[in-house]
């Protein structure tokens, strides 16, 4: 197995044991990038020189016997909506094409402290708004399994990078499924932690009450490793949870311990909306758990049908406010020839924001407007509470809920771009999880007749990531799906 195909944890161990140098690992990553990146287009920016310099520094520290972190020397990619001191932070938007943050996100600092080598920043739907990465204003990313198809979104670049083995592990962000759905489409593991588990400081906000940063990886172990590095309270993020309330575990340590007496919940009526191939893969996955001794219980999520409507009110309302600062005056592109002061704002925004971003700003602005607030925003918050309670009730009867990640496998590029509602509806299985704030994980669980990956979604109660990764690991240990890789890996 070539270096670029190793998991992060294997690579780290070999680097720590000095069987392999970080420089060699970075070299292998860039060899694969040179080969596959022109086809897949996962990255908005690459930091070749900086990565080699950093790898050499890690190698030097290892040679000198200095302490190194949990990801020492491992090449890592991060979504381009995370602020870094190096390179631009574009959010996949023309409006921020030249934005260079003078500070770095807490997760970036934690990655660097852990010794990771950040090789590049990955493509995304503009401001993380989308489910296919087609809304990027800067770059086209394709699915490594079928270049005619989308990689999913909005963390499509990160999912593609891991699937095409351009790096072993990457960070994404998930507001309505943006880690799990591209992980599913690209055949990798994606983990959205509980809201509050990972600091959002330095993540350019889309829907602040829903956004959460998480890993995309080849294996559950790598996802757990990455989560251990990035999780934890951050005084700079008031919504990150106090560690006395929800302690951070070493998510790798007990990973191979199966959860005894496991009860998995399924909502058959809800799952019925998925494609045949997705449903049969789910059924097979349930069988795997039964084979491991789990009981299956049927659960109900009575308000889940309202999730998409509530989500598109709450997320867009927050987005309309979060994106107000990109106006050509404070941040972002400025129109070259404004006729007057007001045009600096209106034309800058008109010229540089993409269609989907404008649509969501309009939706959110409308939802918050005087006279509509109660009917839309307030009602959506009530729905959100009902959905949260649905999950709390469901988890009284089971330890984990299994469901599809998306109703279909990766769809064709351009297939849904003319029908935003159709695109929104494809988030049906992931969105409620963000509204409820609970953690969710997507793991490869099959291939459809066209050979495209299918994801299994596993959900557990808030702040139970330790259990979530163990339950996911039970599936992974019993199956081979995570070892499947696209032809482009070679």
């Amino acid at each position: 197995m070539s270096l670029d195909e190793l998991t992060a944890i294997d690579l780290r161990e070999r680097i720590a044991a000095r069987q392999v140098s970080s420089t060699e690992a970075v070299h292998a990553a860039f060899e694969q990038i040179d080969r596959a990146e022109p086809t897949v287009g996962a990255f908005i920016s690459l930091f070749r020189d900086e990565a080699f310099a950093r790898a050499q520094e890690i190698d030097r520290r290892l040679a000198a016997g200095e302490p190194v972190g949990a990801l020492a020397g491992v090449p890592v990619a991060v979504k381009d909506n995370l602020c870094t001191r190096f390179g631009a932070t574009t959010c996949g938007s023309r409006i921020l094409e030249n934005f260079h943050a003078p500070y770095e996100a807490t997760v970036i600092r934690r990655l660097l402290d852990a010794g990771a080598v950040i090789i590049g920043k990955t493509n995304l739907d503009e401001f993380a708004m989308g489910s296919s990465t087609e809304n990027s204003g800067l770059k086209k990313t394709v699915n490594p399994w079928d270049t005619e198809r989308v990689p999913g979104g909005s963390s499509g670049g990160s999912a593609t990078a891991v699937a095409a083995r351009l790096c072993s592990i990457a960070l994404g962000s998930d507001t309505g499924g943006s880690i799990r759905q591209p992980a599913s489409f690209c055949g990798v593991v994606g983990l959205k932690p509980t809201y509050g588990r990972v600091s959002r400081y330095g993540l350019v906000a889309y829907g602040s009450s829903l956004d959460q940063i998480g890993p995309l990886a080849q294996t559950v172990t790598d996802a757990a490793l990455m989560l251990s590095v990035i999780a934890g309270h951050d005084p700079a993020d008031s919504t990150s949870v106090d560690e006395r309330t929800a302690p951070v575990a070493d998510y790798v340590a007990r990973l191979d311990e199966p959860v005894g007496g496991l009860r998995v919940g399924i909502a058959p009526a809800f799952n019925a909306g998925a494609d045949e191939s997705v449903r049969s893969a789910l059924d097979a996955a349930i069988e795997v758990y039964c084979g491991a001794g789990a009981d299956v219980v049927e659960i109900e999520l009575p308000h889940i049908d309202y999730a998409i409507a509530a989500y598109y009110v709450i997320a867009t309302a927050e987005a309309s406010s979060n994106l107000a600062r990109f106006d050509g005056v404070h941040y972002g592109y400025r129109t070259p020839n404004p006729a007057d002061y007001v045009e600096v704002y209106s034309k800058s925004r008109e010229e540089a924001f993409g269609q989907e971003v404008k649509r969501r700003i309009m939706l959110g602005t409308y939802a918050l407007s005087s006279g509509y607030y109660d009917a839309y925003y307030l009602k959506a918050l009530k729905v959100r509470n009902l959905i949260r309670n649905d999950f709390v009730k469901a988890f009284e009867r089971c330890d984990a809920i299994l469901m599809p990640v998306a109703p279909t496998t990766a769809f064709k590029i351009g297939e849904k771009t003319d029908d935003p509602l159709k695109m929104y509806l494809s988030d049906i299985y992931t969105i409620a999880v963000n509204l409820a704030g609970i953690p969710g994980l997507s793991i490869p669980c099959g291939l459809d007749p066209a050979g495209l990956p299918i994801g299994l979604q596993i959900l557990t109660p808030a702040f139970s990531e330790d259990k979530l990764v163990r339950i996911a690991r039970m599936f992974e240990a019993a199956t081979e799906w995570h070892t499947k890789k696209p032809a482009i890996v070679g």
Partner: protein, 487 residues
């Protein structure tokens, strides 16, 4: 026209800058006069991805002020985003409090003449972050200084309970005194720590009918003088306009005016009130605040007697004049120093004179408060007692007070050293009086004859005696001797 009467009705919106160590939602120090954009960080610049973190000290200062203003402090309050596009507002929304303000209701007692007070009711008091400043210094463009962005402000809104420019000023002065007393704001007008926006209209009665003139909001006043003058000016202007046009208050005819400091007039800024939609919604980046009873009790323990209550007490209990009581209670440090001297045995009126005539002048000159003059209240009480006993004159007492601040010596010692002890020895003084009477026969005659020159001549003789003793004669004793000799 003779049956026309009118009354001005004023409500105030006041922004008070809190004297916290750092800004409302980041770790930057508060700023005044520093180089533009030197006290900023990703958070107060509204950098993409940055997040606010609540300053607990600001919340506690606001709670303390709310309690002092008799507000009901919310047990649960939260932060809301107020959206509008403006260059000095980095995020294009301001973090404020909308439907659950920290303080609701409440009132401020303002002092009127003759020891009376008037209660001005408050609607609310809430916390918010300040914006930056637009600078229009260069020709074809403007610049923005964001040093002030994120500074904690307490916004206080009153009911329209004030009925004269003087009352409006009294409220502003009283609020300044209160927040300074509590130590929650420096309330320095020069530094823009207090900014006022009065809403003004008139209630006019003519021929048994009532009319209300359209409400005018005057924006951004930052001195007591401008506040008072603008209300006075608006009163007259609105009366004139009404008499000329008869236009009365209607939906949508509220207007906004600015204050022109140079010619002391208000200038129309916006004809009709724009239907501003700020699209308030709870800020998802911040967690709501729960004020537990224990926390509230802890804050309540930091309260002190408020200036107006103190002022009234000084008038009632110590017999001080309104004016003197006002001067002594203007600053908490002065009032507390004064009270400590009274506790140490000084006569309130005597020590009041000493402090208002000498102590405060010294404190002013040195730019400090009474407690920082380096004199102990007990020593000042001693000095006051010496003046009462006639050991030193009132003038000498002031001189000694100054010397005490310079040398730290006891007043008795200084009186000796500076030869300021008054001679009250009747025998010694009688000898000098006899000498003066012998030397000024004409004056003696004038006094004895009781004519219109009598009073002046007596004063002359008294002065001569004082002069001969180099000012050390106790005038009271001399006066008694003169009376006896000349009767």
């Amino acid at each position: 026209m003779s049956d026309l009467s009118y009354k001005v009705i004023v409500g105030l919106e006041i922004h008070v800058q809190l004297a916290t160590r750092t800004k409302m939602f980041c770790g930057c120090a508060l700023s005044f006069g520093e180089e533009a954009n030197s006290r900023v960080c990703p958070v107060c610049l509204g950098m993409p991805g940055s997040l606010p973190v609540m300053n607990k000290q600001a919340v506690e200062y606001a709670m303390l002020a709310a309690l002092a203003l008799h507000c009901e402090v919310a047990s649960f309050t939260k932060w809301d985003r107020k959206s509008y596009y403006y260059p000095d507002l980095p995020k294009n929304y301001q973090i404020s409090q909308y439907d659950l303000p920290l303080g609701s209701g409440g009132y401020i007692e303002i002092p009127l003449e003759g020891g009376r007070t008037k209660r001005i009711r408050l609607i609310r008091a809430h916390l918010e972050e300040d914006a930056g400043k637009n600078l229009h210094t260069a020709g074809s463009f403007s610049q923005v200084d964001l040093n002030r962005a994120g500074t904690p402000l307490l916004e206080i809104v009153t009911e329209p309970d004030m009925n004269s420019a003087a009352e409006v000023r009294a409220l502003a002065v009283e609020l300044q005194r209160i927040v300074r007393y509590l130590g929650v704001s420096e309330a320095d007008m020069q530094k823009g720590h207090m900014r006022f926006e009065p809403n003004i209209n008139l209630l006019i009665e003519r021929a048994g009918l009532q009319f209300r003139t359209p409400i005018v909001e005057v924006k951004n006043l930052n001195s007591f003088r401008a506040l008072e003058r603008s209300v006075a000016y608006e009163t007259q202007r609105q009366l004139d306009v009404f008499l000329e046009t008869g236009i009365t208050m209607q939906m949508g005819n509220k207007s906004t005016r600015g204050w022109n400091d140079a010619d002391e007039t208000t200038v129309l800024q916006r004809e009709k009130e724009e239907a501003h939609d700020y699209r308030y919604f709870p800020d998802p980046d911040l967690v709501p605040v729960t004020t537990t009873p224990e926390w509230l009790d802890e804050i309540r323990s930091r309260l002190c007697e408020l200036p107006v209550a103190r002022q009234m007490r000084y008038v009632g209990e110590y017999g001080l004049s309104d004016y003197d009581a006002g001067v002594l209670t203007a600053e908490r440090a002065t009032a507390e120093f004064f009270e400590q001297t009274v506790v140490a045995g000084a006569d309130p009126k005597r020590v009041c004179n000493l402090l208002t005539q000498a102590g405060l002048k010294l404190a002013n000159e040195r730019g400090c408060d009474m407690s920082a003059l380096g004199i102990a209240p007990a020593a000042v009480a001693n000095l006051a007692q010496m003046a009462d006993a006639g050991t030193v004159s009132a003038t000498a007492a002031s001189t000694i007070l100054q010397a005490m601040t310079e040398t730290g010596k006891a007043p008795e010692l200084l009186a000796e050293e500076m030869n300021l002890v008054q001679t009250s020895d009747a025998g010694e003084l009688e000898r000098i009086v006899d000498q003066v009477l012998a030397e000024n026969v004409q004056a003696v005659e004038d006094v004895v004859s009781g004519g219109k020159k009598s009073k002046k001549a007596r004063g002359f003789l008294l002065g001569q005696v004082i002069q001969k003793t180099k000012g050390q004669a106790n005038p009271k004793v001399v006066s008694e001797i003169l009376d006896r000799k000349l009767s």
